[in-house]
């Protein structure tokens, strides 16, 4: 695909404004989305939808959320020009720094929104699912800040792999529930959280961690993450001569950081690129299906059984993708390439050594695609690229150390290579 190079007048014009808009009461994005939940959860979803509609239309709620994001979570985050890497790649690379938020990823934007909404709706408890623990830690954080209880569902296998994050959640006062079903990982934690919600809908809000789940979640989470794209758009306007980047790139697990980023640019002519993990590429390797309450592209076998995703990054180890992304792919407004684990490790190293930033493995997917595409017709020399760095890599240290020990996936991590700037 050739890079589209619109004239300046095309910015903010060519695209329909109805893309990434309010999906209405059905929660549909084209053929995707919806609300595939048991009847017992329908009232809760309806109540949440109307609660969110009211809050989102209430300037006081939005001001309160904005204030909390600013005073507590550290917004706005900067857009950093990656000067040395840009020079190496022959393009202008800008990084939206969600790694600098409180708790270290964009997840906090969403959980603060949902926690404040839950409190406004009179709920006293947050439920959350978590894989690697990032969303769990963020949820526990928001709950502590607002004086809510917090119960986090986590696969037993993930709990063993992420002992530290389990500890962090407990430190924050949350209760972590071990999920012993199925593959004992994220998808089972989601399922279990939905089950748990059914039993406590009155007092509990289920704080979904990405743009997935039944309506209104995909829409609501995108709106809570919209701040990423809106800030970035303003910041790009100040940093780039042409006012907006040619290409906007974000990694996609469920797709919340990508959705928030894209929301800021969907009405421009910027190309939108969501990068999936090769082992969890729901758009290119999935098929339409229903999982965790919504219809989307889902990794599944020919019989309709959900497949486990496999990625070096726990946060992208999810077999679905937010329904709005499936729709954006359908209509051609965004593309969803995927990158391999080895490319991801290379990208972590490359950014660390050129810009002094160690990105989360998740975020490094977006960067890995840029490294691959730079200088090809996909990303021609001289173009400008905004990459959302969804989170920081501190959490991945132990995993990378283990990788180096095994020497398995990437020669780039070997100790002898580590000392040499590349």
């Amino acid at each position: 695909m050739e890079l589209s190079r619109p004239g300046p007048d095309a910015v903010g014009t060519g695209r329909s404004r109805s893309v990434m808009a309010d999906p209405g009461s059905t929660g549909r994005f084209g053929r995707f989305g919806g609300r595939y939940v048991p009847e017992s959860l329908v009232p809760a979803c309806e109540q949440l939808e109307s609660g969110f509609r009211a809050a989102w239309a209430d300037p006081a709620f939005r001001a309160g959320l904005a204030r909390t994001l600013a005073l507590h979570a550290g917004r706005p985050t900067p857009v950093t020009p990656a000067l040395r890497l840009s020079a190496e790649l022959g393009l202008t690379l800008l990084l939206k720094r969600e790694d600098l938020t409180h708790t270290g990823s964009h997840k906090i934007n969403n959980v603060l929104g949902q926690a404040m909404l839950a409190k406004r709706m009179g709920k006293t408890r947050l439920l959350a699912e978590t894989g690697a623990g990032q969303h769990g830690v963020a949820s526990a954080t928001a709950a502590a800040l607002l004086g809510l209880e917090c119960v986090v569902y986590m696969g037993e296998r993930d709990m063993r792999r992420q002992e530290l994050n389990v500890f962090r959640m407990e430190l924050l006062g949350a209760t972590v529930v071990a999920v012993r079903n199925g593959s004992r990982t994220l998808k089972d934690a989601c399922t279990e959280a939905l089950r748990g919600w059914v039993t406590q809908v009155d007092e509990a809000h289920y704080c979904v961690g990405s743009v997935m789940g039944p309506h209104p979640y995909p829409w609501m989470v995108r709106e809570f993450q919209r701040v990423v794209g809106e800030e970035a758009r303003q910041q790009c306007a100040a940093l780039l001569p042409q006012g907006r980047p040619d290409v906007v790139v974000a990694c996609v697990g469920g797709g919340s950081n990508a959705a928030g980023t894209f929301a800021g640019f969907v009405d421009t002519d910027a190309r939108l690129v969501g990068v999936e993990a090769a082992g969890g590429a729901a758009v290119s390797r999935g098929a339409p299906g229903v999982l965790h309450g919504y219809r989307s592209q889902v990794l599944q076998d020919e019989h309709g059984q959900i497949l486990e995703a496999h990625s070096i990054s726990a946060g992208l180890d999810y077999p679905g993708i937010g329904p709005e992304h499936a729709h954006l792919a359908d209509i051609g407004r965004a593309e969803y390439p995927s990158v391999t684990d080895a490319e991801v490790v290379e990208a972590v190293l490359r950014l660390a050594r050129t810009e002094g930033i160690v990105p989360a493995l998740e975020s490094a997917h977006a960067l890995a695609w840029v490294l691959r595409a730079a200088g090809t017709p996909q990303l021609p020399t001289g173009c400008s690229v905004l990459v959302t760095l969804s989170g920081r890599g501190d959490k991945d240290g132990a995993q990378l150390v283990a990788l180096r020990r095994d020497g398995a996936r990437s020669g780039a991590l070997r100790r002898d290579a580590a000392g040499t700037p590349r």
Binding site: S40, T191, L291
Partner: protein, 264 residues
């Protein structure tokens, strides 16, 4: 029998029995749970089942508790597939109507119409999809009807009154009243809200109303049947199946439930 002839078989059958004064009993089995799983169907029918719910296993059974999760997991691990189950059912005429219970993803994998046609071809009368609620039901209900499959809708204790009425009207085969806020699984007692749900649903027409989720003992079944037309019993039976009890043995429990209902 073509689709149109077949359509309504489940409901007709249940109505007839109910109208004869019988409390309805719909026991459950997970398809593929053992090599001889279809023997449970015959044994259930012989033990007094009025219809049988056949679980088509799904990897992520959102509305099921630990027992049926485990059963689904086992069935899938031993290679159970939708195609295999339906082929088996097609070759296994059972004395009472069957309703398949599964999740939306299984239904939509190759298109809902194709799925319903295959159900019909296998002789299945009804379909229960707990994660397709009333608002999402249009597409499925159209193709199910076209295929001659009765789409059973579920109602919960928190479902709003007008919505309950619509569900009762739109459901086919029977109306499935979910007695608890929670997943399938054994519980003791029967809540007031469960009884109220049965009563309300019965007030919305003459279609049979069955209560399910958490009903395990003959006494509970009898209690439930007091405010509905009958019960669905799943987890307590599957616990026995998982423990290795064969069709005859589990049928003993079904018979006890039958007796409880008849006595109640």
């Amino acid at each position: 029998m073509n689709a149109t002839e077949r359509y309504g078989r489940l409901e007709t059958h249940l109505r007839r029995r109910r109208d004869a004064g019988r409390s309805l009993l719909v026991p459950y089995v997970t398809a593929g749970i053992s090599a001889d799983w279809t023997d449970y169907l015959h044994a259930y029918a012989d033990a007094g089942a009025d219809a049988i719910e056949v679980g088509l296993p799904f990897s992520d059974p959102m509305l099921d508790g630990a027992t049926i999760q485990e059963a689904s997991h086992r069935a899938l691990s031993s290679g159970t597939t939708t195609a295999g189950v339906l082929a088996r059912l097609a070759g296994t005429p059972v004395a009472v109507p069957l309703a398949v219970m599964t999740y939306a993803n299984i239904v939509f994998r190759h298109g809902a119409a194709t799925f319903c046609d295959r159900l019909a071809q296998a002789g299945v009368a009804g379909l229960i999809v707990p994660d397709v609620p009333y608002d999402e039901v249009d597409e499925l209900s159209t193709v199910a009807t076209a295929a001659g499959v009765e789409l059973v809708l579920l109602a919960s204790p928190v479902t709003a009154p007008t919505r309950l009425r619509r569900i009762a009207e739109r459901s086919r085969g029977f109306v499935y009243g979910v007695t608890v806020m929670g997943t399938t699984g054994e519980r003791t007692g029967l809540s007031d809200s469960a009884r109220a749900l049965g009563t309300t649903l019965r007030g919305h027409g003459s279609r049979p109303v069955l209560l399910g989720f958490g009903i395990s003992s003959p006494g509970q079944a009898a209690l439930a049947a007091g405010s509905a037309d009958g019960v669905v019993v799943a987890s307590s039976l599957m616990r026995e199946v998982l423990a290795g009890r064969g069709p005859r043995e589990v049928a003993g429990t079904v018979a006890a439930l039958r007796a409880g209902l008849d006595a109640g």
